[in-house]
């Protein structure tokens, strides 16, 4: 029953969507079958666009993981440093990426660089906060154990704090995976000229030309991309820490 329920909810939503779409013009809400047709017809183009967006989102996520993780280690080690940089890291989280994207186009020009940057910007904060929280959640008894045997700071970080923080970091990465796709698409809205074709570009172009089935098809592809990232990270997490962290198995 628990496995059938999500499918049932999806089916009901599809029926409701079809019922509503039948009463509205296609330009406002296309029938699910029309979206399916667009997916099939534009399959190669959507595939190419998905690859472009996936590349931008993954590169952005990678950059955010490196810098967010490193900043997390530094902040966890030094609360004074964290306090000094807190307003600026918070700024990254609170300033709408849509507002920054046009500036990035001015600075970096059109192309992938903009969407990589926006993906990195929105992915950075969850990774940073998760790393700091994870490193600070190391059980005190385990810290005492290492202290008892004269562990150096590097040994404590490598042998205890980082493995102990891994479940937190993976949770941050999973949150950032979805955000990274959104960030990349927002960057593509502003910074893509269609070379190479990307999901953000397709959404924008198809909406402008009232090709609503293609807009929906691109949205479906974006969602599938975010879900794939999430599921892949979940799988990596299970593979790496699932044996000892019950939440990851």
């Amino acid at each position: 029953m628990s496995r059938a329920l999500p499918a049932l909810i999806g089916l009901v939503a599809l029926v409701l969507w079809a019922a509503l779409a039948a009463r509205l013009p296609e330009v406002l809400l296309p029938l699910p079958i029309e979206v399916g047709r667009a997916l099939l017809k534009q399959g190669p183009r959507l595939g190419e666009a998905s690859l472009t967006t996936a590349f931008a989102a993954l590169t952005g996520l990678g950059i955010a993981a490196v810098f967010g993780g490193a900043a997390g280690v530094l902040f966890a080690r030094s609360p004074a440093l964290e306090r000094a940089f807190a307003p600026y890291t918070l700024l990254l989280q609170t300033v709408p990426v849509m507002a920054i994207a046009p500036l990035l186009v001015v600075w970096l020009g059109y192309g992938l660089k903009v969407s990589v940057c926006t993906a990195a910007l929105v992915s950075f904060f969850p990774i940073l906060t998760a790393t700091v929280a994870g490193l600070r959640a190391t059980p005190p008894d385990q810290l005492d154990l290492l202290r008892l045997y004269g562990a150096t700071e590097a040994q404590t970080l490598w042998l205890l704090r980082l493995p102990s923080a891994a479940p937190f970091v993976f949770a941050g990465l999973r949150s950032s995976a979805g955000l990274g796709v959104i960030g990349a698409i927002v960057g593509e809205f502003v910074g893509s000229n269609g070379e190479p074709v990307s999901l953000g570009y397709l959404v924008l172009r198809s909406a402008r030309s009232a090709d609503t089935p293609l807009t929906f098809a691109a949205i479906v592809a974006s969602t599938a991309l975010a879900l794939t990232f999430y599921a892949t990270l979940r799988r990596v997490e299970t593979r790496l820490i699932g044996a000892w962290h019950p939440g990851a198995s």
Partner: protein, 251 residues
Amino acid sequence: MAEGASEAAPAPRVRLDAVRFVWPSGEEILSGLSLELAPGQVVALVGRSGCGKSTLLRLAAGLSTPTGGVIDVGDARRAFVFQRPNLLPWRTVAENVALPLTLMGEQDPAAVASALAQVGLTDAAHKLPQALSGGMQMRVSIARALVSQPTLLLLDEPFSAIDALTRARLHSELGQILDERGLTTLLVTHDLHEAALLADRVIALAGPPLRVLLDVPVSLPAPRGRRDLYDPRVGALVHQLRAALDLDTPP
């Protein structure tokens, strides 16, 4: 209990002289406590929860710094067994046992194997801790404490979270290890029978600030087994400790 430890480093004499410990909040836990443990002596500290005995153990371990006084453990190699097994869940049993050696920059698979054999866990070497029962995890924790060839062993209520049957088995195993190795040992426990079975000397404490209510030797030959629980001398000792700790009166 020092027989059989001739190959290992000599067990240290532990001396606490007028030791004070005050929390930053101002609460005084130790106010000039003095205590001496002879080399190879197993001393049990018993007392009500919160009296400060675990703080005393942490001070002896070097995990807390005294506000005043002197703690002299000589050049003891210290090992600590925590209330919970405190194993690192991502490391296998053997890797957990090897942790003190890893931290000291040493590699000694034979010592790890020997420590695991001593607690009867050779077959579990490659398992992760969560695959073991609570009692087995505690035995891993004891093996980890023994692997670095300590001369001073500090145990903080090591069997408090373990069922009675496993505890009985662990008492016997630990008693044998202490007898073989001749380590100077400080054992914090709430279990007066455990104190009588494992220790050469039992100190009843009250506090804070921590003060000695009773300091008595245990006059039974070691190692002791479960049947010694029925020895009238154990009964008399437990009775004496209960009276000193006023355990028959609700707190």
